[in-house]
Subunit: 217 residues, 2 copies
């Protein structure tokens, strides 16, 4: 059993440690192994080494645990995207490219989170916290798109939200179809990163970028 180093909480020796977080890890491990449908509440308890009744102290049911995994996934996702975007440095176009690569990297290296976030069948409207976390992740992309369209002359600028939705959809499509880190991946004659980069370049050229405003290097 591995204890994460990144969360900052560590094991607090309390009865049997930080069970809530351990259950989330259990869910991730089991999703990675058998898919988002392939684990049960009892499985998670067994993985964590506690009795089958113990998880009820922390989650109402299996769905609540799964929603918590998705929530944590969106939070990590947003953090990862924020880091990649790096506030538009060294320049907006390069940072935008990094953003897309980070999205793909997340889908590849964290397929369990990715499944819980997008494929576990949790209705997005159900849990407000979950929705907000998803919105925060999208906001990173949205802000980046804002900076991107600002490179264009003021007249004829496309709406930043549309650009963000386009890039999100394209990236999500590539990640879902070809960029998974698990068995659901389809084969592709090139790395997904290249496919995405080419698509975004063509798309931005279609918007007239880089162009009249001059390339920012």
């Amino acid at each position: 059993m591995k204890w994460g180093k990144g969360g900052g909480q560590g094991p607090r020796g309390y009865h049997h440690g930080n069970l809530r977080e351990t259950l989330v890890r259990a869910a991730l491990a089991l999703i990675a192994e058998k898919g988002p449908a392939g684990f049960t509440f009892a499985d998670a308890a067994r993985w964590a080494g506690v009795s089958p009744a113990a998880p009820y102290r922390h989650f109402r049911d299996r769905d609540a645990l799964l929603a918590n995994v998705a929530l944590q996934g969106f939070e990590r996702f947003a953090a990862m995207l924020t880091t990649a975007w790096n506030d538009g440095k060294p320049d907006v176009l390069t940072a935008f490219d990094n953003l897309g690569k980070a999205y793909l990297a997340f889908a590849r290296t964290e397929p369990a989170y990715y499944s819980a976030m997008f494929e576990a069948g949790i209705a997005p409207g159900t849990d407000p916290l979950l929705r907000e976390a998803g919105d925060r992740a999208f906001a990173v992309l949205r802000d980046a798109a804002e900076r991107l369209v600002a490179l264009m002359p003021a007249q004829g600028r496309p709406p930043a939200s549309m650009v963000a939705l386009h890039v999100w959809s394209m990236t999500h499509g590539i990640a879902s179809l070809f960029g998974r880190g698990d068995a659901a991946r389809r084969s592709l004659p090139m790395p997904p990163e290249e496919l995405l980069e080419a698509a975004v370049l063509i798309y931005l050229r279609g918007l007239g970028l880089p162009g009249d405003a001059g390339p920012p290097r």
Copy 2:
């Protein structure tokens, strides 16, 4: 219990009718109701009104039934796309637009098929028949992309397969995120068809289309 009219086989009064097909319908109904993970082999038997042992005459297990649903889904999908593409008529750009709309229409009107095809966790490499059916659906898009790039001057034509992958990814991304006919849909400030149409227009403009070859109208 509804009997489909489109398949051309109808109920053949044989013991209890065409159970194999009825089980596929059962799976679709149950997926639509409770998601791809939300049905069991016994559920399907109950829905079809037969004993729990009966499905074993037709499918090895639940996964085999699910794979058959996905297979049938890909076949319908390919047929629908072929109809929409209509061999590039009335003109290639219009037909290409219709193709994208048909993809979204399928995801909206057949969310159960869509789930089984793309989200049920069936590894694409597992079943050769399933893979081939998926490939046939993609081939429609691929042929359309071929016709599309043929509108461009021979030098500097992008590879048709890349264009097809880009459009597939974009469409799949929009369909998965916003275009579902079930609870998994996220909200969007515009119809998904419009979002897709705008994206494809911008993308094609980035490719230089319609352009040097002259718009085909």
